[in-house]
């Protein structure tokens, strides 16, 4: 299903042997026999048994040929792979921070937390109003304030005019004042956003988990191709991650810094 020209939501029927995925886990999709590598996508929903959903931004050959797959076609997937997020403890409020297609990495988590009756703040940042269509795929805000959904756009065409991290900062500020519950952050989005969210979490001493992306080959930890630097050396996104404690990550010097 196409959401807008840049993004598609896929529903895949899976084999009965396919284990129920955990939020944060991903699958490796073989979208075209012309490609050397599979493409990893977060499980963006698995509410109905025997089905998983993927939310895919069209970027290059792999995602485009996936989008051209016609309904009813069979696609080879491997998974679910990778680790999962920590659960928020009872006193915690989950703050989900998604940048653009980062929504895909957090949607399943949001659905699970919402079903468990947890308190949730979901912050979605995007370039323009159109991208907020992604927000429609997330659990809706509830009237009792248990689930809140806030937006930011780079061009101010919807929600807060600015970055989602600015939004995050002010939300955390408000939470601190309120002293209602301690926040736990879950982030997925472009590298610059991840880095900034991690800095905010670190400054405020808040637990923060991030879902990272790296180009992958094996998806099993075998090839050492998808590493990120951590305080304990390189770790693989596919098998040590894709979810990492932000405090463990070592960010490269920013370019031109």
């Amino acid at each position: 299903m196409s959401i807008d020209p840049k993004n598609c939501l896929f529903t895949l029927e899976v084999d009965r042997r396919f284990p129920k995925p955990l939020p944060g886990q991903f699958v490796q999709v073989a979208s075209s026999t012309e490609l050397t590598l599979r493409r990893p996508f977060s499980v963006a929903g698995a509410s109905r048994p025997g089905e998983i959903e993927l939310l895919v931004e069209l970027r290059g050959k792999g995602t485009r040929s996936f989008a051209e797959t016609h309904e009813g076609a069979t696609v080879s997937i491997l998974g679910p792979m990778g680790n999962t997020f920590s659960e928020p403890s009872t006193g915690e409020i989950a703050v989900l921070v998604a940048g653009g297609i980062g929504v895909a990495g957090l949607r399943y988590l949001a659905q699970e937390l919402s079903e468990e009756g947890r308190r949730l703040i979901i912050l979605v940042g995007a370039r323009t109003r159109e991208a907020l269509l992604l927000g429609n795929l997330l659990p809706s805000a509830t009237e009792d304030g248990r689930i809140r959904l806030e937006f930011s756009t780079d061009d101010g065409s919807a929600g807060h005019w600015g970055t989602v991290c600015e939004l995050l900062d002010s939300e955390l500020e408000a939470l601190e004042a309120d002293r209602i519950a301690s926040p736990r952050l879950y982030c997925c989005g472009p590298p610059a956003m991840i880095r900034e969210a991690a800095a905010i979490a670190s400054a405020r001493e808040i637990p923060c988990e991030v879902l990272l992306e790296e180009i992958m080959a094996c998806g099993t930890g075998a090839c050492r191709g998808c590493v990120v630097m951590t305080k304990h050396g390189y770790r693989t996104v596919c098998s040590d991650g894709p979810v990492f404690d932000a405090a463990e990550l070592v960010f490269e010097e920013a370019p031109n810094a």
Binding site: T33, L35, L37, I215, R224, V227
Partner: protein, 315 residues
């Protein structure tokens, strides 16, 4: 059922399909995805004396028909390999080949001795050809004498099957192959990856953190197949074909060119079922052509061409 067994030195493989170094880790990582009963042997990620952190990411870049990697020989070092990883690797039912790379002739000997002393390890593959760590103008893999010295040192360190993995980044792979045979290698792996790179034009920098990497996958097949073809006439030890093998026909091309076995690497990423598909395809080909043993296939195309050359010269 046709006979797929094949022999490399003292090592008898149930099946000519070997999983290539660096693409299956220590085998265990792929345990739930690969049917190891269709795999004759696996080669470990190359082991060095000290642990190596490897190169800065990105380490992978897909290219048309191929894959560039610049892992930089990330590995835990020989001690932790023997104390931790070997146990994992030994759970894989296929034969186990340890790949080693030394920084000097002595290190090659030392590493060979260390891994060969363990009974779980059936053979040793000498990696002289990793393009991601070499910096000299004339690399070792291009120097028959240097290669001979390394192989001799390793040969003195073990009686187990010794494979020598050559590099395609040379003008004269045949002389290196001959030097390897002469120095006592039991088999030649032909060959590793080609040096390559890509550039991200928007970022104006190399796509790989290490700038250059090794090109594997289908794009590499024609080059390494030609290398097997050239070497087949020159040496009498078995050749293991490697580079871009994804389908039964790819494996057959290497075998008909002169290979006794093949390695499958990059193809596993898209299809962990590739070894099984290839094994089945080989069996099917043999049945269709009434061939009982895969060993009969080795070099058939090469032998036919030699007869033709003789006819032309005679005529």
């Amino acid at each position: 059922m046709p006979d797929l067994t094949t022999t490399l030195g003292r090592l008898r493989l149930a099946n000519p399909i070997i999983l290539a170094s660096g693409t299956v880790g220590y085998g265990r990582e792929y345990a739930s995805l690969i049917d190891y009963s269709t795999v004759g042997a696996i080669v470990t990620k190359t082991i060095t004396r000290e642990a190596r952190a490897g190169n800065a990411p990105p380490r992978l870049k897909e290219t048309p028909g191929g894959l560039l990697n610049a892992i930089g020989l990330e590995n835990v070092g020989v001690d932790r390999f023997l104390s931790e990883k070997l146990r994992e690797a030994a759970t894989v039912p296929s034969a186990l080949i340890a790949s080693v790379a030394g920084g000097s002739v002595d290190e090659y000997a030392e590493l060979t001795r260390a891994v060969a002393s363990r009974e779980e390890i059936d053979a040793i593959e000498l990696n002289i050809s990793c393009p991601n760590v070499e910096r000299a103008r004339r690399p070792v893999w291009d120097d028959p004498e240097a290669v001979g010295t390394i192989v001799r040192a390793a040969r003195n360190a073990t009686e187990k099957t010794l494979l020598l993995k050559l590099s395609p980044n040379t003008a004269d792979i045949v002389s290196v192959a001959e030097a390897g045979e002469e120095a006592g290698a039991d088999a030649l792996v032909v060959a590793n990856t080609l040096t390559g790179m890509r550039i991200d034009v928007e970022a104006r920098k190399p796509s790989l953190g290490n700038a250059t990497g090794g090109l594997s996958g289908r794009a590499l097949l024609p080059v390494n197949l030609a290398n097997v073809w050239k070497i087949t006439g020159a040496v009498s030890i078995p050749i293991v074909g490697s580079g871009g093998i994804a389908d039964p026909d790819d494996a057959l091309e290497y075998i008909l060119a002169g290979a006794a076995a093949v390695q499958v690497g990059t193809a596993l990423f898209a299809d962990p079922g590739a070894p099984g598909r290839i094994a089945a395809g080989l069996a099917d080909y043999m049945q269709r052509h009434d061939i009982e043993s895969i060993e009969e296939c080795t070099g058939l195309a090469r032998k036919e061409k030699e007869r033709e050359w003789q006819r032309t010269t005679a005529g």
